[in-house]
């Protein structure tokens, strides 16, 4: 019953939006070039799938997000753990990170293009920046919030330094870090589109920009729809990750 409801209601809302879209197109004043309807967009969608452009651009965007995001997590999580565990690191890095964090990744576009030129690198750098800071901060906060009793248990059972890390710190922060990663992927996905509008010649952002220059609003809409779909899939993947049994169990340790 619940499954049915969860499944049917989104279909209802999507159908309503598409119907409204069609109504506006039919009764509105805009030409097809300015405001294409659902059917025209679907045709263009099919066209872009068949000529391989959509796949190529999606892969290009996903590649940049994946690399940038992994770099952000790979460097951000360990740094966050160190900041959360070691006072010296906390005072050394925390003010710096808090200062850098509110600077929008997009503000880095000029510098990153100057440093890395045109191509994948500046885009990846921007994704990295947009993932790194939130991951560091969330990880550090999660580490600081670990219930001190668990460290007493660790001391009581003579945990080594490594065991304290692998059996207490990491499992304790997993739920928060997974949540942070989920939010961060969404940010990275937002940023990649913006980055591709400026620094590169491929990707979904570039598809949108290029299609606008060619006055193909139907392609622009296809690009937007695909961005939405991929964003949704990324979120579902991250959500599934947070539902693993031991991750759920860790959440009760607060």
């Amino acid at each position: 019953m619940i499954f049915k409801r969860n499944f049917i209601l989104p279909i209802v809302s999507f159908s309503v939006i598409i119907a409204l879209w069609e109504l506006v197109v039919v009764y509105g004043q805009w030409s097809v070039q300015v405001f294409p309807g659902p059917v025209a967009v679907m045709n263009s969608f099919y066209e872009l799938i068949m000529n391989g452009k959509l796949l190529k651009d999606s892969v290009a965007s996903l590649y940049r997000v994946t690399i940038g995001f992994y770099l952000g997590a790979l460097l951000g999580i360990p740094l966050g753990i160190m900041i959360g565990r070691v006072q010296v690191f906390k005072y050394l890095f925390n003010p710096l990170i808090q200062f850098m964090r509110p600077i929008s990744p997009l503000a880095w576009i000029p510098l990153s293009m100057l440093w890395f030129g045109i191509g994948d690198q500046p885009a990846i750098f921007l994704i990295f920046l947009s993932s790194f800071f939130p991951i560091v901060v969330s990880t550090a906060i999660a580490v600081e919030r670990i219930n001190p009793i668990y460290f007493q248990v660790a001391a009581n059972f003579n945990f080594t330094r490594m065991e304290r890390l692998s059996k207490v710190v990491i499992p304790a922060i997993v739920p928060e870090v997974v949540t942070a990663l989920r939010l961060t992927v969404a940010i990275a996905w937002l940023v990649v589109v913006a980055a591709e509008m400026i620094a590169v010649q491929s990707g979904l952002g570039y598809l949108i920009l290029d299609s606008r220059n060619a006055l193909r609003m139907d392609y622009v809409m296809v690009g937007m729809i695909v961005i939405g779909i991929i964003g949704l899939i990324l979120d579902i993947i991250m959500y599934e990750l947070s539902q693993i049994e031991s991750v759920v169990a860790s959440r009760f340790g607060r």
């Binding site: 009793i149 007493q152 248990v153 059972f157 207490v168």
Partner: protein
């Protein structure tokens, strides 16, 4: 087997957060809160000691200091003549709450104290033995959050006992158990103690627990706490408070000491 000497033990916290009320009282920021001072006690090898006292008098604090979790105190504590420097698995602590690691199953939690055993078979058998002992058979692969409060306590007891520690510290280990389980586990601990004769120090709010279990009862008063009663018991076990006039008298005496007028 370990004897414990507590000499001139004192502990105070510095108040960091407070709502300021009357200047100069305990609630002032920076004010020193004396939890207890000048505690002198001596426990013999293999003794079962029960510590009673009003809530907030510093029982948990004292236990934590003895186990080596807290090194900022006055005076000294000698275990077999040696000062304690840090926690170790020779002295296992059963926490007042949340002592199980929530990301580990019951099995993995009990395994913590045995994880360095070479012999896999022996390790597995021991883990199973203690899980069976606290009647958690069938719950080996459950996470703490999937257990009731009482089952969590039992799992923690199993984890502590499985180590076969020299000293077992228990901070209100029966709190949150239903009455029957409470009696059962209490009996289990008493049997275990009779059998292994290790030093056990237990904080409890239940006077009857102390009467049934203890070789020595310590009663503390309100903060700043001092020892207001120390009594050595040599009644034979198993004990029955109703059938033993000496225990009944002692119970009255403890109630009086704690300021409760107890009507038999």
């Amino acid at each position: 087997m370990s004897n414990i000497k507590i000499q001139g033990l004192g502990k105070s916290y510095i108040n960091r957060r407070s709502r300021k009320r009357d200047p100069g009282d305990d609630n002032d920021i920076g004010a020193e809160i004396k939890v207890f001072e000048d505690i002198n006690l001596e426990f013999e090898d293999g003794e079962m000691v029960c510590i009673l006292g009003p809530s907030g008098c510093g029982k948990s604090t004292m236990l934590r200091i003895m186990a080596g979790f807290d090194q900022s105190y006055k005076g000294q504590i000698l275990i077999d003549g040696k000062r304690i420097i840090e926690p170790s698995s020779d002295n296992v602590f059963v926490f007042q709450q949340n002592g199980l690691l929530p990301w580990m199953t019951v099995w993995q939690n009990v395994e913590l104290g045995l994880r360095n055993l070479e012999d896999e078979q022996e390790k597995e058998d021991t883990i199973q033995e203690y899980i069976d002992m606290v009647e958690l058979t069938g719950f080996e692969y459950h996470y703490p959050s999937q257990l009731s409060g009482g089952m969590q306590r039992r799992a923690e007891l199993a984890r502590a006992l499985a180590v076969n520690p020299e000293i077992l510290y228990m901070d209100e280990p029966f709190t949150g158990l239903d009455y029957l389980t409470h009696l059962k586990i209490r009996e289990e601990v008493v049997n275990m103690h009779t059998f292994i004769k290790k030093t056990m120090i237990m904080v409890t709010h239940f006077i009857d627990d102390a009467l049934i279990m203890a070789d020595r009862i310590i009663v503390l008063n309100e903060r700043p706490a001092r020892v207001i009663m120390e009594h050595k018991l040599d009644f034979s076990r198993p004990r029955n408070i109703e059938k033993e006039p000496g225990l009944r008298d002692l119970r009255d005496q403890i109630f009086m000491t704690l300021g409760v007028s107890y009507v038999a």
